[in-house]
Amino acid sequence: MAAVTRTQVRARREREEEVLVWPDLVFIEFIAAVLFTLAFVIISALFNAPLINHANPDVTPNPSKAPWYFMNLQELLLHMHPALAGVIVPTFALVLLAAIPYVDRSNDGQGVYFGTPNSVRITIWSAVYSAWFTVWLILFDQGRHTYIWQKLTGKKWIGDWNLPDWVPGIGAALWHLAFVRNTRAIQTEWTWRIPVKGLQLGGGDGHLDWPRDFQHIPMPFNGTSWPKWGGDSGAPPPEWYQHLPGWLTGLFWYDLNLNLPAFVVEILIPTMVMVGLSALLIYLLWRVGWLRTRRDVIVALFSGFLVVYWVMTIVGAAFRGAGQDLVLPWSVPHIDG
């Protein structure tokens, strides 16, 4: 009986906190619609939508840019393997985004901004952290940190020091420190070789040319037309294989020669950086004791994601000139043909 009375009291109080949708909401919506219609008519009267020369597949504008909301992906594309940047990362991001409510299942703190005690500072800290690292990673991958270093100190960057090859075998690979110039230098400027003299591994002639073979490491499904069922003897594929539809054999037959330096530079390092920096963010926030609930973790990750999205969009839109080179906004060529 007492419980019933309490619910009734509560229901009455809620009724008093309610307003009628007409006029209190409908009028706001109407005014917003009118204001936005006016604003867009004015904007459209003042600024023309871009229309440049007729499409011409033979003339590639430099730079060619995606629509602005995909410029972040185009920016990502400059730093890692296209499959990773163009498909895998965005797919992961969208799936994780959709999964948020299934990770953070608690009912607490809904309906108000920043529902947990720490979420404002978590948001600010994650935003600063993500912006800082995104900007420096972009600068680093373009080798711009060496330029900044030289401007500030007047000295050459460490990566350009030609250190003597003190330890033969380990040699230039380590001492050249190419990787502190940018990530791609690991692939292009390092001498990829096994640091043990006279080591011979496998292969037909008992000798592997490692600098070359690091870029063509054989994988199980490997070849150009069909699997080498009979090994090098060249036996024909089994009967069933010959009746498979083309797209399926194509699937079997994906060229999986592993290019190890490219793999390290384009897939391994970017993945480690993306996962690692996210993990580091969470770890740091956990160590300072700000993370109390799953909601806090999600707020940190989501805020970081948003900032990375916007920073990369801005960099892609305003700081990428001809050849997607990193330039200042006023040096980005205006494309009109």
Binding site: V21, E29, P61, Y69
Partner: protein, 256 residues
């Protein structure tokens, strides 16, 4: 009382001319067949108008007062929907003049700018509204996230929202190709190339998207069809689900 003066009595005044006109206009048989409830000037009629009007019945009749504060939502969800409707209107007008063929697309857009009265305005409106919609949808997602409005029982509506975000991006992206200028061709080339880099199925998917190996006439008609009918239909279905579930899940989120 003076002699000859008749005694004054209080008498109700007869209806004035305006009331008579008002009565004839709004209380006749035809009007009342269209609008079943009276003018929403009383709480009863205010609730009835929301409940009985097909366009207004997306709303509940009452709302908690925190939800009408502008800063609670910044109207972002509603604005996204409003922009979608505006895009439908301007888009239909643009379709009167636009033929999605490689021969005509560019000249049609050019003619829209120079020959068609208010053509440039319609195109500008369509373009800027489309950019704005991508923006409001993204901002709406941020609002929903930071108010924790995805929490139970609204989990699935958040997923529907993510799908609507993807559909918004696809709608904008498919529209991007239609002017068939250098900007359009190469932006879409860059965009579809990204899909083409997907492992294993990338080439096949990008071939289906473009209807060929490069962005050409087939891509134009595909993008056009998706832009004007395919994606808007799908988006409309998901929007219906989105709005329906807001109501079914108890309106907008608020503290327990």
């Amino acid at each position: 009382m003076a002699v000859g003066e008749r005694p004054r009595t209080e008498r109700p005044k007869g209806p004035g001319l305006l009331s008579v006109i008002h009565d004839k206009l709004f209380h006749n048989y035809v009007w009342q067949s269209i609008f079943r409830s009276g003018y929403p000037s009383t709480p009863r009629n205010q609730m009835l108008v929301i409940a009985t009007n097909v366009f207004l019945h997306l709303h509940p009749t009452r709302l908690h007062k925190t939800h009408v504060r502008i800063t609670h939502t910044y109207c972002l969800g509603g604005l996204s929907f409003f922009l979608f409707l505006s895009l439908t209107v301007t888009g239909v007008l643009l379709m009167f003049y636009y033929v999605p063929s490689v021969e005509r697309a560019y000249t049609d857009i050019n003619a829209l700018e120079t020959d068609v009265r208010y053509g440039a305005l319609m195109r500008n409106l369509h373009r800027w509204t489309a950019h704005a919609m991508v923006l409001t949808v993204l901002l709406h997602m941020m609002r929903v996230f930071y108010t924790g409005a995805y929490k139970p029982p609204r989990e699935f509506n958040w997923v529907v929202g993510v799908i609507l975000l993807i559909l918004t991006l696809l709608l904008s992206f498919t529209g991007y190709l239609l002017p068939w200028d250098q900007l359009a061709l190469w932006a879409v080339t860059v965009g579809t190339n990204m899909v083409g880099s997907a492992p294993i199925l990338g080439d096949a998917v990008v071939y289906v998207m473009r209807g060929g190996f490069e962005v050409g006439p087939n891509a134009l008609i595909r993008f056009y069809t998706l832009h004007v009918i395919g994606l808007p239909l799908i988006a409309a279905i998901f929007m219906s689900v989105h709005f329906w579930r807001i109501r079914r899940d108890g309106g907008m989120a608020r503290p327990l």
